[in-house]
């Protein structure tokens, strides 16, 4: 494991937490077919491109601006904001957004902290979260899992959670939150009441540590799987092709937590 190799920093060096996060994000687009992957943030972007280069070759990617691009940056389409919003409404997209707060039913907040009418902290605003959550699969990426983010109740519902969607009937028929990925693990809503459940823990993370960092009671299966190991080829792609300068370690630093 720790043995250095002569031909570079790939291969034998241990898989980092950031790399498990990339793999966990990539898995969100497995089997997605010919749809747009909309990752927000570095680790989801690496995940989407990794999925596109390996097990989800039909995915469409954006350059973060107005172009659809192949993983090497070659443009293959035009997608300005206006068309992007139309594509959201059409549903052929799986977005992975950030969340300043998220609760057990997947309600997400990026608007403000505190009472909306007099916020303690003004954040971005609802952005496209209400549109996203009623029209296409919406997953979330949270780089630092804590009680400040995983809260009992979000201050302003931007992205719609399962409990809210349940009251909407046919209007919410496209609502789906496939997963939440954090630096501690992967979570889904595969419980009878669609409350958040541990789907896998990243290697090195304990259930106790996870509970300590979560502000509500998570559903925990008897046997909690570990987030899967990357293949050698996946590691090579992440380290040599997608992120050779190691920016992923700045979003999820190694050894900061357990």
């Amino acid at each position: 494991m720790s043995q250095a190799t002569a031909d570079g920093d790939c291969g034998a060096s241990a898989v980092t937490r950031a790399e498990y996060c990339v793999i966990a994000c990539a898995e969100a687009w497995r089997g997605a077919g010919e749809i747009l992957a909309s990752p927000m943030g570095l680790i989801p972007s690496l995940g989407a491109r990794l999925a596109r280069l390996t097990f989800a070759p039909d995915l469409l990617l954006t350059d973060g601006e107005a172009l659809l691009v192949r993983p090497d940056g070659t443009p293959e389409g035009w997608l300005p904001y206006r068309q992007h919003l139309a594509l959201v409404a059409g549903g052929r997209r799986h977005v992975m957004m950030g969340a300043s707060q998220i609760d057990r039913y997947g309600n997400q907040n990026i608007s403000c902290i505190g009472d909306w009418s007099a916020p303690r902290r003004q954040l971005l605003g609802v952005r496209g979260a209400p549109l996203n959550t009623l029209n296409n699969p919406t997953s979330y990426w949270i780089p630092r899992h804590s009680r400040r983010v995983f809260v009992e109740r979000v201050d302003m519902v931007c992205g719609v959670g399962y409990d809210r969607a349940a009251g909407l009937g046919v209007t919410a028929r496209f609502h789906r939150i496939p997963r939440v990925v954090s630096d501690l693990g992967v979570f889904d809503f595969a419980t009878p009441d669609h409350s958040m459940r541990v789907a896998s823990l990243h290697p090195g993370v304990s259930v106790e540590q996870l509970r300590e960092a979560t502000g509500f009671v998570l559903a925990v299966p008897d046997e909690v799987p570990r987030t899967r190991e990357p293949t050698g080829e996946e590691l090579r792609l992440v380290r040599e092709v997608l992120d050779p300068r190691g920016a992923r370690a700045r979003e999820v630093p190694e050894g900061v937590r357990g």
Partner: protein
């Protein structure tokens, strides 16, 4: 066919306190900043501002010109949270009408189409209706019976947008990758003012770019302003990118200090102040 060219100050002379003002661009991209700066030099206030917000909103909010803001977000893109907007919002300086990006577009579309509202599958289930108690729903009259948010038209008294090129008649051209929603802002407004990097002859517009780059039609435009570098410090691709250094300065300087140094004079004085600041910065770093 009339020559609609005018100065930024002439545009502002046609605006008035209490108006609903739409501002084009997106975040910190292709914002009509020269027009916003001219607005800041006036005493116009009590505005309802409709914007996919960037520093246009930050500056107008900091200067106390906004009574009500209609938006889905305010950001400087490379600086995710707009500090002057945040500060103004946290001290309760204006009313906020917060809607989703898609709802916002539907509101502009409805105004352009002279409809009172458009249905949108967004907003329901979220707290958007809670913070917009006037927002209504509409039920499909067909068998599906689905319920939607009925986004009211965002009719504007005036729109301000910035494009790469325009002719004197009011035909506006964008040369960057994204039209944003600038033509919709113009169509949703009773009067639209287009600033541009360069005023050119009509024939020149299609010499180097295709006709699909002609975003804004003259029938939707009231006035055209030649404003070189008029989106500074936001981006105006391909003419120039965002001035990240200056944006960081804007974001990290207390508003009164920033306004006193950069916004007290006219556009020429602004350019000179930015140049002087840049020179100072390179002198300090010593790597000219």
């Amino acid at each position: 066919m009339g020559d609609k060219s005018m100065t930024a100050d002439e545009v502002v002379s046609r605006l008035a306190s209490g108006m609903t003002l739409g501002i084009g661009g997106w975040g910190s991209r292709r914002k009509p900043m020269a027009l916003v700066r001219a607005l800041l030099r006036s005493d116009i206030g009590d505005l309802t501002v409709v914007s996919y917000g960037g520093p246009d909103v930050g500056m107008l909010a900091a200067a106390g010109r906004i009574r009500r803001l209609v938006t889905a977000f305010v950001t400087l893109d490379s600086v995710p949270l707009e500090p002057h907007y945040r500060a103004a919002r946290e001290r309760g300086a204006f009313e906020l009408t917060e809607v989703d990006e898609g709802m916002f577009m539907a509101g502009l579309r409805a105004a352009a189409d002279r409809l009172p509202f458009l249905p949108v599958r967004a907003g329901l289930g979220s707290d958007v209706p809670r913070v917009n108690p006037g927002l209504r729903t509409v039920t499909s009259p067909y068998e599906d019976g689905e319920t939607f948010a009925a986004m009211p038209a965002l009719r504007l008294d005036a729109a301000l947008v910035h494009v790469n090129r325009a002719d004197r008649l009011g035909n506006g051209q964008y040369l960057g990758p994204d039209p944003y929603f600038d033509d919709l802002f113009c169509e949703a407004a009773d009067a639209a003012y287009v600033s541009c990097e360069r005023l050119v002859d009509t024939a020149e517009l299609t010499k180097e770019a295709g006709p699909q780059s002609l975003l804004v039609k003259r029938l939707a435009v009231t006035g055209v302003v030649e404003a070189p570098n008029g989106a500074h410090f936001t981006s105006c691709a391909p003419d120039y990118g965002r001035d990240e250094e200056f944006q960081r300065r804007y974001a990290s300087t207390p508003w009164p200090e920033f306004a006193a140094r950069f916004l007290d004079g006219d556009e020429e004085a602004y350019r000179e102040a930015v140049q002087a600041w840049r020179k100072e910065g390179t002198d300090v770093s010593g790597n000219g």
